[in-house]
């Protein structure tokens, strides 16, 4: 069943795939992010209570969702790295972690600048905000642990274990607003009922979500490509790839 996945244990095959996918992801990111941001930030109607301030939702919610999505992806790579001991899965961890950490930081930062005018405070130690902050620390922990060992594979193993254990935090973030009393409001779209947002505001939000998903994927793929090259630097295929790249750029400058 999984036979089609087998070639991607080989760095070269993975590199070719990533190389092929990257322009598509980058192009679609640009389009969806542009449409989502312009529509959401400039054209969507103002909110009946929050006025224009609510518009930060078009950055805050996608960043928060994909800070968690990226973490889940990283944990899956960690599990594959631990169980099947595939190098290409190990290298995905340092590719994903900084991107996810950046998304988490964006979610926390935009949340704070949304909270000040609406709630009246930048920060409260409620369950949602605190668990999202812990997510940022988990990302930083994974990055630090990955780099903390002289032997790269030991570091990858340790980071994988931390990434997998940290998955427990994801349902806590999501359900924190239901399990406990928090200042943060409940879920608007990530629930099974109808989204509690008017259709005219929902569409740009969905497009922004798509845009942030593709942005996360694009950044991860770019970093992953570098990871593959870096680890395989002395292999003939990587050498050929680099030679090709430098020849192309030399021709461009000529």
């Amino acid at each position: 069943m999984w036979r089609w996945l087998h070639p991607y244990a080989k760095p070269e095959a993975t590199y070719r795939l990533v190389d092929k996918l990257l322009p598509w992801f980058a192009g679609l990111t640009l389009i969806s992010l542009l449409v989502g941001m312009v529509w959401g930030l400039a054209f969507a109607p103002a909110d009946y209570q929050q006025g224009d301030s609510y518009r930060i939702i078009y950055i805050h919610v996608p960043a928060a969702i994909f800070s968690m999505g990226a973490y889940f992806g990283m944990a899956i790579c960690g599990a594959i790295a631990l169980i099947w001991q595939i190098k290409t899965a190990e290298w995905a961890l340092p590719a994903i972690a900084p991107v996810g950490a950046a998304m988490t930081a964006i979610a926390l930062f935009t949340g704070a600048i949304w909270g000040k005018p609406m709630w009246g405070t930048w920060w409260v130690w409620d369950a949602r905000l605190t668990s999202e902050l812990i997510l940022l620390f988990l990302y930083i922990g994974v990055m630090a642990l990955y780099a903390a060992f002289d032997d790269a594979r030991t570091g990858a193993k340790a980071a994988s274990i931390l990434a997998i254990v940290g998955v427990v935090n994801l349902p806590i973030i999501h359900y924190s607003v239901e399990w406990w009393n928090t200042l943060h409001q409940g879920a608007t779209i990530t629930k099974f009922e109808r989204p509690s947002i008017a259709t005219s505001m929902l569409w740009p939000l969905l497009i922004s979500l798509l845009g942030f998903m593709l942005l996360t994927a694009t950044l991860v793929l770019m970093r992953y490509k570098n990871q593959l090259l870096k680890h395989e630097l002395n292999r003939p295929w990587a050498q050929a790839e680099l030679a090709l790249d430098s020849r192309e750029s030399a021709e461009e400058t000529r």
Binding site: D47, Q50, I83, W119, G120, V124, W180, T188, A198
Partner: protein
């Protein structure tokens, strides 16, 4: 799947399940402290093994501002209002500027000291908003109410 991989898979699953149970129990045990605020019902129906709020305690209370209960001192910034959920009404005394979203019928969280069994002297009042977003016209149609901001004179009517 070969036996070594199967063994490692089992280990990973045991790790995840074990950690989940441990964290779950911990959060369940701490749930009363994780809650950001007390609700007015916590003053009446106190669950077993939990302390009701005591006079003199520093605490946060969260609830809906009771319609018509906002009482402002015209000379100073002093304001008093009542909050409730399904439980009793708790009076909040506050001196300062209320957040823009503060409205009657709106959720708030007040932090301060309980000076009487049902009165909180607040040092900070935060507005809590719900997860619903809609344009003003739709809100008027659906809810039949114009949200009037008590921070602004009534003639101005519509909120920005």
């Amino acid at each position: 799947m070969n036996p070594r991989r199967k063994k490692r898979l089992t280990w990973v699953l045991v790790l995840v399940v074990g950690v989940s149970i441990a964290i779950g129990l911990m959060l369940y045990a701490m749930s009363y402290s994780i809650n950001l605020f007390y609700t007015p019902s916590d003053f009446e129906q106190v669950e077993e093994g939990k302390q009701p709020p005591q006079v003199g305690q520093r605490m946060r209370i969260g609830g809906m501002v009771v319609e018509g209960s906002v009482d402002r001192d015209p000379e100073t910034l002093e304001v008093s209002f009542k909050v409730t959920d399904t439980g009793p009404e708790v009076t909040i005394l506050y001196q300062g500027i209320l957040p823009d979203l503060f409205r009657e019928g709106q959720g708030i969280v007040a932090q301060g000291e309980l000076i009487a069994p049902r009165t909180l002297k607040a040092s900070e009042v935060l507005a809590k908003h719900d997860e619903e977003y809609m344009p003003p016209e739709l809100a008027e149609k659906m809810k039949g109410i114009k949200h009037v901001n008590p921070n602004q004179p009534a003639e101005q009517g519509e909120t920005p």
